[in-house]
Symmetry: D2
Subunit: 379 residues, 4 copies
């Protein structure tokens, strides 16, 4: 095996496909990262997972994650199954001494997230690295935005105006699915889209959420299911105001019924000396206040920009999928260094606490709630 | 006087200049409206108002509004002085039987607004017309947006995402002014910018505000004044969530510290079957969902579009100032018809009540408040 | 008349309406210019010109331009009739000692333009000022672009990519008009739209055309006229490459069949150290290369920007019509100074020669032609 | 080997890296294509090609292409070396019965291109497939554009306005390289960028070039080389007007000194009933005339759009690199079918003839030249 790290991915659906893409490609662009082997893809359906493993470049497939995580030729466990299954697998993998990457959200409950964060902190002491998959931190334009904020180019950040808007539920005739049931999905737009936004605000400002007000709404309360009309028990849209520890204020709106928005993650950050805007539908672009006071559209494809020097010449844009390739690169380099890497499980826990507080506020007439972070600032 | 209507404008600063522009030009483009005379411009400084009157095309200037509103050759009183002076002048003018246009906001307090709305309703019975100057209803693109919503092209409107962002207070070194004192200005970004947004949401959806949550913040709490450091007593930025009577939800953010935004009134309206977006910095454009599901940029300069048939050929854009020309046209046509015209003083009152509720919520941990509209839907 | 200048406008159609707008408003915004009186509007139809005069703010109307230009209370003659009538009126007005503003193009033929340029040069010696109405030099964003180029912010200008695209002839079923006949219109898109582009390239680069290659095409060669099918004898679209005296190269494309373009005057200027882009459909915006190497969108509404300090606060945009107001301001200030003003009749002549050369090249397989400018650089 | 096709890539620089990416990923997204093996990567430097082979996923590396193309375990030869080497390798590979993909341009001379087109036509009769790598036909938005044109949504296409603008030579201080010498590079912007544009115009309109006028220019004629100042012998920028066989007209501008443009392939297509625009820097977007007559921005990420159904959910954008993945898919499917695939070597020849004619016209005062296509329309 000559020093390469064996990877196992658990799950072969949307996220399993995206993570497989990353593992298949990371070595071609980031030779500085430890080399990996695509060892095994794990899924429930033996036939389907076998086909997926072949297509996606895996040496083998398997159906039982619990034996896979014990294998000696598996060094990394990458968990791409639904959120309510994260905790059990991740805890077992950490216990087996494997490095663990968990797709976001870290967990469906604050309690699970706390357990995981504690386990990850303990494992790090043994040289075992863990990370949660908030892949948008790896969009080059957002990594550049973070750099600009950190360098003080915006001065003191005051206001963030953020939204994550999609429209796949805009049609009231769209059918009921497990994603629209509280017991299976945990939450709706808030958990799915809001978790990304909350993590990004924390990341871009290098800041923590101190207070929240929240609101939730379901526009279409009943949908046709296989057994007749069913109640939709998660939110279609959610709103939040975040008071950050630094004093900055952020407004957040997320929705699955925003007709015309396919993947509209919009960010506006206003500081005393500058501002930034970003739209995920144009993920190679970052807009920053320029010398004339207007927004300058920066095509984030220069060699000096984060990640993109590894790819193609200026002007040759990247797609959404390579955010996962960058994520794999960061995770592998952290493993090599034996060091903590952000977004850590502690970050995942902070996000989970924030979402829980938004939900609590929503159920209390949007009254502002104060968060405390007993673990201290996420790390 | 051969049937033309004599106009008196009270105030010759920013708004007086803009309204003068409208009166000077309305006849050239809207011959269907009653003809007017630019009779008299009123201001406190005799020399300055005389110069302004000459430059802006007025026959005379005067310094005492109370005698001007009694003159027989004055049919219309157009009030462009600061908000706390609106009520006294408007009530006197209505009592004198003059048609009254009041620059927004209608008044600085709900109590004043109630008195004015009641007086306007009574005056209408005597054929006296009144209107409040929410000029953005007269932007052709927004009038077209209103038409599209009314025609059902968006289906059921669900979410509105609105902001009005400026940056003239982004510099913490900008000096103290009367606009930043509660006692002289009434409020900050909320009253100045929020009033426009609240009126537009009501107008575009033809709907009324039912519930509000609010938040206010002052980022720079002290500024240098002529006599040393002073406390800033109004908000730099404000946020609100509006629950509309129809069930639609609107989020509102207004700010004077949004670096890079000069006049950034951004509107996004999402319905079950379509969507709209608008940015005041590109006021000739409306974006609507097209047949491929993307946003179509409509240049609102076609003869079939509201107002613009009176102007130039397609593609020849209009400026901000002609929103006032259109406003004058609507007011004059209502006078000719002896009919109510929106935005009425009742609309102005509804906006005022909404702003007051946002402020109350902000002082109560953003708790959601229910508005009642004892006068019924604004009319 | 207390020192004010009496203005006569000849023509009350599209351009007469636009120029009237300028004369009606120039004093309100540019008090530094000599004051004017809207003395008389001249047109052929007595009833229609009387109505237009009343609507557009003129003291009188008249039907005979030849007597109007002799009147003592007329100091300025502003010619807004079709191009083939320009020379006769302008020459007579100059002979009568009147300042003359001629709507573009200066004339329909090079011969007429030469006569006019010589007459204007002679008149200037007698303190009589003349100007041609290339109003796009007065768009604040383009005046700012000119300033940026002159200041060297682009370094050495190398390439200009220009187009003026409209679509009002895209429909092959649109009827025949006098504008589509060579004998009445002179030319098609080339003269109408190309003249603007050629003047702007010369203006923005402060440069002169040295060589041209050209091409012309008529996509719809027959259209229905009142007496049956007629031959279209002007171009629908034209193309040119201009070699500038400085060595810069410009490509030009103009069209009346560019579906979806209403008034699409697009300019891109590439220099060794920077670049600019502009689109007339967004006339308040100029895009310039910023410090990160991307295009910065400058909203040209700051007090330091050309013309706009006279108008409204930052972010309050101007419309197409006020380019004429700015033009009137420049013309009036030149009269007060008794000085030459650009675009002079000599500029108009240079443009005419360039257009004629493009046409000649088009008829000679697009072969490159060298222009000589016997009058020297336009002035 | 069980039926999978062995691939050899010749060249491991920029294009070799991009093609390797395609071969590594094609199977994961396009299971309908024949399966391949990344058999061998060929390059001159044994150490470097070995490292590249390992990083890019190849089973082996080699330094002698002539033996590689004879190997039984190689079915596909993919040529990514500079243009002047294409003919020899491609002819040998075809003679060896291998399917051949040649990176664009097909060849540096018309003579070479003719030989290759004839050889490819002959090979097809033996079931051997060949293709030239104009990868921009595989941008989903451009494939969609082609579909829209073919469906008649634009009506009769009249005008194309095209440019391909980059800025990597804008700095006059950039050093001399082999790319700037006629003898090594063949041509400058014309061959490099113009070839893409010419192919796209032919592809999008499904049309052939009938006439051309051309111009070439070198703005910086001397640059510092390793042995002192050298003459630049290729063009920095080129211009062409194309008359298409259908009667449509296209203007083309390509440049390497267009400051601020990183990969600015801009296309505008105007038809009698619609229009399209595209910018490669936003390669997931296509703008089409919508029902209100404005441009609708279509995010080309819907399952019904070309290629993208194989990837991610709507709104999850693709990067430049996957145009090569799509290209590999098309080539493999053509091999499976034993059928001709476009862009064929005949397409490559048509492009080469057009470029040669542009150059000839440029050397003859831009005089219009007529092309004849003795092989008939490309196929």
């Amino acid at each position: 095996m000559t020093g390469s790290l064996g990877v196992a991915v658990i799950g072969y659906a949307f996220m399993g496909k995206a993570h497989s893409h990353a593992w298949r490609n990371v070595g071609a662009f980031f030779p500085e990262a430890p080399r990996i082997r695509q060892q095994v893809l794990v899924g429930r359906d033996p036939g389907q997972v076998k086909t997926a493993a072949r297509d996606y470049g895996w040496a083998e497939s398997a159906t039982d994650w619990s034996t896979v995580i014990e294998r000696d030729d598996v060094d990394i466990v990458d968990i791409c199954v639904p959120g309510h299954l994260h905790a059990e697998i991740a805890l077992a993998a950490l216990a087996a001494g494997k490095h663990v990457l968990v797709e976001k959200p870290l967990a469906n409950t604050v309690a699970d997230a706390e357990t995981l964060a504690a386990a990850a902190a303990a494992a790090l002491g043994r040289g075992v690295v863990s990370m949660v998959g908030f892949n948008y931190r790896r969009v080059p334009a957002l990594a550049l935005a973070s750099r600009f904020v950190a360098e003080g180019r915006l001065g003191e950040v005051r206001e963030v105006r953020a939204a994550y808007l999609q429209d796949w539920l805009a049609d009231a005739g769209a059918p009921m699915t497990w994603r629209l049931r509280q017991d299976t999905a945990g939450s709706g737009a808030l958990g799915d889209l809001g978790s990304h936004v909350v993590d990004l605000v924390r990341f871009l400002l290098d800041d923590e959420v101190a207070t929240v007000s929240g609101d939730l709404h379901t526009f279409t309360t009943e949908r046709d299911g296989p057994d007749g009309v069913e109640q939709v028990t998660v939110d279609d849209a959610a709103w939040a105001w975040l008071g950050m520890a630094s004093g900055a204020r952020a407004s957040v709106e997320v929705s699955r019924v925003a007709t015309g928005r396919k993947n509209g993650l919009h960010l506006e950050i206003y500081g005393s000396d500058g501002a930034l805007t970003f739209d995920l539908e144009r993920l190679n672009e970052l807009n920053v206040i320029g010398r004339e006071g207007g927004f300058e559209r920066v095509l984030v494809t220069e060699p000096t920009h984060p990640y993109v020097g590894a790819w193609w010449p200026p002007g040759h844009t990247l797609g959404w999928d390579h955010t996962f390739t960058h994520q794999a690169r960061e995770f592998l380099c952290a493993i090599a260094a034996g060091e903590n890497v952000r977004p850590s499980f502690a970050d995942g826990l902070s996000v989970q606490r924030t979402l829980a507080a938004i939900e609590a506020s929503a159920h209390d007439s949007s009254r502002r709630l104060h968060l405390d972070h007993p673990l201290g600032a996420a790390s």
